[in-house]
């Protein structure tokens, strides 16, 4: 059903867990399937120095959470804001059609966390 990359991130997710005193938090719930994805960021010198996630969701929701933390880490705020759904899907080696909405969740949560930091 899923690519090797999805399974890899699902089985061994990177940057998983709660973050104490984050600079920004973004939480997105998916009304369609009930998944909840939460990203925490720490920012220093306009760069995402640390990022963590907590996700209640399916294998893909967990994999996209893990992969976006890898992709956003050490990026400048401007670079991180440019990350798209398509970038995530490509990095994961594709997703089944009915799971595409999960990748959107991760991109949105990151934007929300950055917005929260900028406030």
């Amino acid at each position: 059903m899923y690519s090797k990359e999805v399974i890899k991130h699902f089985k061994n997710p990177k940057n998983m867990g709660f973050m104490k005193d984050p600079d920004g938090v973004g939480e997105i719930g998916n009304p369609q399937c009930g998944d909840v994805l939460k990203l925490y960021i720490k920012v220093k010198d306009n760069k995402i120095k640390d990022i963590k996630f907590e996700t209640l969701g399916c294998a893909v929701a967990i994999a996209v959470s893990s992969v976006i933390t890898e992709m956003a880490k050490n990026k400048t705020i401007e670079q991180a804001l440019k990350l798209t759904e398509e970038d995530i899907v490509e990095r994961l080696g594709g997703l089944p059609l009915f799971k595409m909405h999960c990748s959107n969740l991760a991109a949105q949560a990151l934007k929300k966390a950055i917005k929260n930091y900028q406030k």
């Binding site: 059903m1 899923y2 399974i7 699902f10 089985k11 997710p13 998983m16 867990g17 709660f18 369609q32 399937c33 009930g34 998944d35 909840v36 939460k38 907590e54 996700t55 209640l56 969701g57 399916c58 294998a59 893909v60 929701a61 967990i62 009915f98 909405h101």
Partner: protein, 394 residues
Amino acid sequence: MKKKEIYLDNAATTPVDSAVLKKMQPYFNEKYGNASSIHKAGDLAREGMEKARQQISTFLNCLPEEIYFTSGATESDNWVIQGIFEKANEKGLKKPHIITSVFEHKAILEPISILEKKELIESTFLGVNKDGLIDAKDVLKSIKKNTVLVSVMYANSEIGSIQPIKQIGQLIKDINVKRENKIVFHTDAVQAINYLNCDVEYLNVDALSISGHKIYGPKGIGALYLKKGISITSLICGGGQEHRLRSGTENIPGIVGLGEAINLISKKKKDNNRIKRLRNKLITGIMKDIPNVQLNGSLEYRLPNNIHFSFLEIEGEGILIDLSEQNIYVSTGSACASNFLKPSHVLSAIGLSDEESHSSIRFTLGRQTNSNDIDYVLNILTKSVNRLRKISGK
């Protein structure tokens, strides 16, 4: 070495029993005749087919000529709805009424909904209680003058709840005595065949759907039992096979396999108690080892091989993939695993919240399940639930 597979999705499909496969094999390339041919090759095919019909009719306690072979239970279900509706129409009934339950298989719900949308029928979808049981009295209350068909599943495929078919059948039988347009009572017995009494006289049913691949037989074959004297129109028309009611060259290897699979069920009755003990072991183990879980559906009126739990605060699809990576195969009612991104209609019908449905896992045991499997599954499952709860931060 290849890692062992533990298949706990026997309500989805079952492996073909080796004895069944052996009986089928000659019918692919030795006894390959067309059962409609009148030469000797045709005779051989026909003999195989009629033996299977006999085996099935013995199991159901009906006449061989009351068994019609189909491509599977979906066709049997579609056929009984379409065929009874059309027949009522032919008799001049403008808008026949059909009664069913909200949590039937989609093979029942879809054709009824389509006829309803076209405004060709009236329909009643009966509710179920939180245990997943229909009240026979509700059937009685919803019967109208123009009711032509009642269809209620024998056992639910997701939560394994067993419906009071005998009781509903008796009520309809009593009502039919005084009715001019008799009500046909149909049950989809696909999940029940392995475990429950399917004697059609005992059950008081007029029609019953069967599938091959849920009973250690082949895919692509099923049957409809239809009581003698009930008129129905054809769903599939052509060469006039199956007493002119279901056309198409008969799938002889499949038919022979279905017959043998049914035949084996009677021989393996004692397996049911063993399966039930294993089921109870897994239920008890889950409740003891994993906090924050709930068993869904009735414990009393339940198929002996069915387990259905919600593991709250995580996603069932995640557990499914975790277990699959360890070669343990189960299923989920979560929207995340559905093409429609909607939680299972069965779980919604018994009143589960979306969250409870999303976190659900179904385990359906089978003949091949043993006690070591249960220990292993419990161990892996506990680890998976703990891991996913850590990820969800709950």
